[in-house]
C-alpha cells in the first residue's frame, strides 16, 4: 500500500461568490444544485451493487449451481432414460434442482444488499447523502430485483434450452410451460431475494437475516418430514405444499401434493408477502434511528 501523497491545500474548492445567496448568508457553490429524485438513488445503488465482490461471488455461484446442476441432471437422465421413462413429464422440469440450491445465493445477496450497510456503518453515509429513507429502500429494491431477475432469467432459459436439446426423447414443452419455467421461476426467485433484502433491512444483521431466510425456506419442509402423527396430517400437507421448494416446483409441475398452490399462485403469494414486508420495512426505517 503506498502512502497518500502530500495533500495540496484545498485550492480545488471553487472561489467564493459573494452576495447572491439565499436568505442564509455564507458560501455559494458553483456546482449546480440538483433536485434529487429516485433516479439518482438508483444510479447510486447500481454503483454500490456492482462495486463489491460479494455480488460477483453470490451471483457467480448461483449461475454455476443453476446451470451446472441443470446440465448434470439432464446428462444423467439422457444417459439412462428411455422414451417411456419420461411419461408426460416436461423436459424443463429437470431445471428445478439447480434453482432450488442456487436460490440460497440470491437470498444471501439480498440480505447483504441492506444488512451489510448496517454492519459496515455505510448506512450513516448513505442516509446522510439521501435523507429520504423510503427512497433508498425503493432504489435498492429496484436495482436488486432487476439484477436478480436478469441473472436468473438468463440462467434458467439457458438450462431450459439445453434440457430440451439434450432430452430429445421427451415431449416438447408447451408455451405455458416455457413461460412458467423461465419468466415465472425468475420472478419468483427475484421476489424471494427481494424479501431477503427487506428482512435484511428489518433485522439489520447479515448473519441473523440469512439464517432466518434459510429457516423460512427449509424449516416447513423439514418439520413436515418428521410429522408422522395422523392427527396432524392437515398441517403436514399444508407445510409440504406451501413450503418454498414445493412452490418453486409448481413452476416445473413437480410440486409436493395436489392440495396446495397451482398455476401461477406461488407468484401471487410471493408478491403479497413481499409487499407486506416492504410496508413493514419502510415503517421501521422511519421509526428507528440509523
Amino acid at each position: 500500500m503506498s502512502t497518500p501523497q502530500h495533500p495540496t491545500p484545498p485550492s480545488a474548492a471553487p472561489q467564493w461568490q459573494a452576495g447572491s445567496g439565499p436568505s442564509y448568508p455564507g458560501y455559494t457553490s458553483p456546482i449546480p444544485v440538483v433536485r434529487t429524485h429516485l433516479g439518482h438513488a438508483i444510479a447510486s445503488e447500481w454503483t454500490k451493487i456492482r462495486s463489491v465482490r460479494s455480488t460477483i461471488w453470490t451471483l457467480g455461484v448461483f449461475v454455476v449451481l443453476v446451470v451446472g446442476i441443470g446440465l448434470a441432471v439432464a446428462g444423467l437422465v439422457s444417459g439412462s432414460a428411455t422414451e417411456v421413462d419420461y411419461g408426460q413429464e416436461s423436459p424443463l422440469s429437470f431445471g428445478f434442482f439447480g434453482v432450488l440450491l442456487g436460490m440460497m445465493c440470491v437470498v444471501t445477496l439480498g440480505v447483504l444488499t441492506t444488512a451489510s450497510e448496517y454492519g459496515t456503518g455505510m448506512i450513516r453515509t448513505t442516509t446522510t447523502a439521501c435523507p429520504s429513507r423510503g427512497r433508498v429502500l425503493a432504489a435498492k429494491s429496484i436495482v436488486f430485483f432487476a439484477v436478480a431477475f436478469t441473472v436468473t432469467f438468463v440462467s434458467v432459459t439457458l438450462v431450459g434450452l439445453m434440457d430440451v436439446a439434450m432430452l430429445d426423447g421427451a415431449r416438447q414443452p408447451t408455451g405455458q410451460e416455457w413461460l412458467k419455467a423461465t419468466l415465472g421461476v425468475s420472478l419468483y426467485v427475484a421476489l424471494l431475494g427481494l424479501l431477503s433484502l427487506l428482512v435484511g433491512s428489518i433485522i439489520r444483521h447479515s448473519a441473523g437475516a440469512i439464517t432466518l431466510m434459510i429457516a423460512l425456506v427449509l424449516a416447513p419442509l423439514v418439520i413436515a418430514l418428521f410429522m408422522v402423527a395422523q392427527a396432524l396430517e392437515w398441517l403436514r400437507s399444508g407445510l409440504f405444499s406451501y413450503s418454498i421448494p414445493s412452490q418453486i416446483g409448481v413452476f416445473y409441475s413437480t410440486s409436493l401434493g395436489d392440495s396446495g398452490p397451482s398455476g401461477w399462485d406461488p407468484l401471487w403469494i410471493a408478491v403479497g408477502v413481499t409487499a407486506v414486508a416492504f410496508a413493514g420495512a419502510v415503517a421501521l426505517l422511519h421509526r428507528r434511528d440509523v
Binding site: 500500500m1 448568508p25 456546482i31 440538483v34 438513488a41 454503483t47 435523507p131
Partner: protein, 333 residues
C-alpha cells in the same frame, strides 16, 4: 447556519442530549467540545437526521435535514472514518455518493486530489490506515462543495502533518464563508483552530462563547518567582498590593502583574531572583475544570476531587503543572 432549539435525546432513562440551544454561524470555525460520552456525536447525528430528537428542533439553513433537496451540496459531514463499505474502492465509494446527489463525476477526482488519495483511488478502503480512512471521509464531506461542513473528531488517527493539514483546511473553508462545525475532546486542538466554542458535558450546554473570550476568561496569567530571600520578598510584594500565592517547592506565584514590575521591585529591595517567568495556565486545565462535574467515564484514582471546590474561577489548581501553555498538550494525550 445550523440552529438548535431545545434539542433533547433520551434513550430510555438516560438523557444523552439535554435541551441544547445554540447556533453555528457561517464564516467561522465553531468548535464543539466535550469529554467522551458528552453527547457530541448524538447531537451531530440529530443534525444530520440520522437520529430523531426526543424533543426540540435542529435546522440546517432553516430547514430540517430530511427536507433538504440537495443534502450533500448543503452540508458535508465526516461522522466516523468507518462509515463506508471496506470492499469498495475509494473512487467507487465517492462515486456512489456523488450519483445519489447528481454531483458531476469529475468532483470525485477533484476531492480525491484535495485530500491526497489520488494514488490509492482504486484501492479498497479496508486496506486503508485510520488516517487514510479519515481522509476518505473528509473527501466525502467535500464532495458536494457544501455550505456547511461538519467534522466529528477529524484529527483522530492523523499524523502531525495530517493534523496540520486539516487545521488549515478548516480555516480556509471557513474563510470562504462556509459554516464549519468540528467536534473534539481536546481543548488544545480547538484552541488552535476554532473561532467560537460550544462546550457540552453530559448532554448539557456548559459554554457558548468566542474563543478569545474563553481564553481571556479561563487562562490565568501569572508570574512565577523563586528567590533565596523568600520571606523578605513576600512582604515586599504584599506591601506593593500584589496577590501572591505560595506554592510547593518554594516558588511564589504573582497574579495579574507584568514580570517587569516584579523585577523592578526586586531590584529596589535588593532581592536576588533565581527565577522570574510569566506563565499561562493551560486551557486544557480550564476545560477539565469546566467539565469535571460532568465527566462520565473517568479512571479510578484520578478523580478530580480537588476541582470540585465550586469556585467559579476555573483557574489551574495550585500546584498544577502550568508550564506548558495551551496547544502543547495534543501530542502527548
Amino acid at each position: 447556519m445550523i440552529e438548535l432549539e431545545g434539542l433533547t435525546k433520551r434513550y430510555g432513562e438516560k438523557t444523552a442530549v439535554d435541551d441544547l440551544t445554540f447556533t453555528v454561524r457561517p464564516g467561522i470555525v465553531t468548535g464543539f467540545l466535550g469529554p467522551n460520552g458528552a453527547g457530541k456525536s448524538t447531537t451531530m447525528r440529530m443534525m444530520l437526521g440520522l437520529d430523531r430528537p426526543t424533543s426540540g428542533d435542529v435546522r440546517i439553513d432553516g430547514r430540517h435535514y430530511d427536507r433538504l433537496k440537495d443534502p450533500l451540496t448543503a452540508i458535508g459531514a465526516l461522522l466516523d472514518a468507518k462509515a463506508m463499505h471496506g470492499g469498495r474502492t475509494a473512487y467507487n465509494h465517492l462515486l456512489c455518493l456523488a450519483q445519489s446527489n447528481g454531483i458531476p463525476r469529475r468532483r470525485v477526482d477533484e476531492v480525491l486530489d484535495t485530500v491526497g488519495l489520488t494514488a490509492v483511488a482504486r484501492k479498497k478502503a479496508k486496506g486503508f490506515s485510520l488516517g487514510m480512512g479519515q481522509r476518505l471521509g473528509i473527501a466525502g464531506a467535500l464532495l458536494g462543495d457544501p455550505r456547511i461542513l461538519m467534522f466529528d473528531e477529524p484529527v483522530n488517527g492523523l499524523d502531525p502533518e495530517g493534523i496540520h493539514w486539516i487545521r488549515n483546511l478548516m480555516k480556509s473553508l471557513a474563510g470562504q464563508g462556509r459554516t464549519v462545525f468540528v467536534s473534539s475532546h481536546l481543548m488544545s486542538e480547538m484552541a488552535l483552530t476554532a473561532d467560537h466554542l460550544v462546550v457540552i458535558g453530559q448532554g448539557r450546554l456548559l459554554a457558548d462563547t468566542s474563543m478569545p473570550d474563553f481564553i481571556a476568561r479561563n487562562s490565568r496569567g501569572y508570574v512565577r518567582v523563586r528567590t533565596p530571600q523568600r520571606e523578605a520578598f513576600l512582604d515586599a510584594l504584599r506591601a506593593a498590593g500584589m496577590a501572591v500565592a505560595e506554592v510547593d517547592g518554594g516558588a511564589l506565584e504573582v497574579d495579574g502583574v507584568p514580570a517587569e514590575r516584579i523585577g523592578d521591585l526586586a531590584a529596589q529591595h535588593r532581592v536576588t531572583l533565581h527565577e522570574l517567568s510569566p506563565q499561562q495556565a493551560s486551557l486544557e486545565e480550564a476545560f477539565m475544570q469546566l467539565t469535571a462535574e460532568s465527566v462520565e467515564y473517568h479512571a479510578h484514582g484520578a478523580a478530580p476531587s480537588d476541582r470540585r471546590d465550586g469556585t467559579d474561577r476555573p483557574a489551574a489548581p495550585p500546584g498544577a503543572r502550568a508550564g506548558d501553555g495551551w496547544g502543547a498538550g495534543w501530542e502527548g494525550k
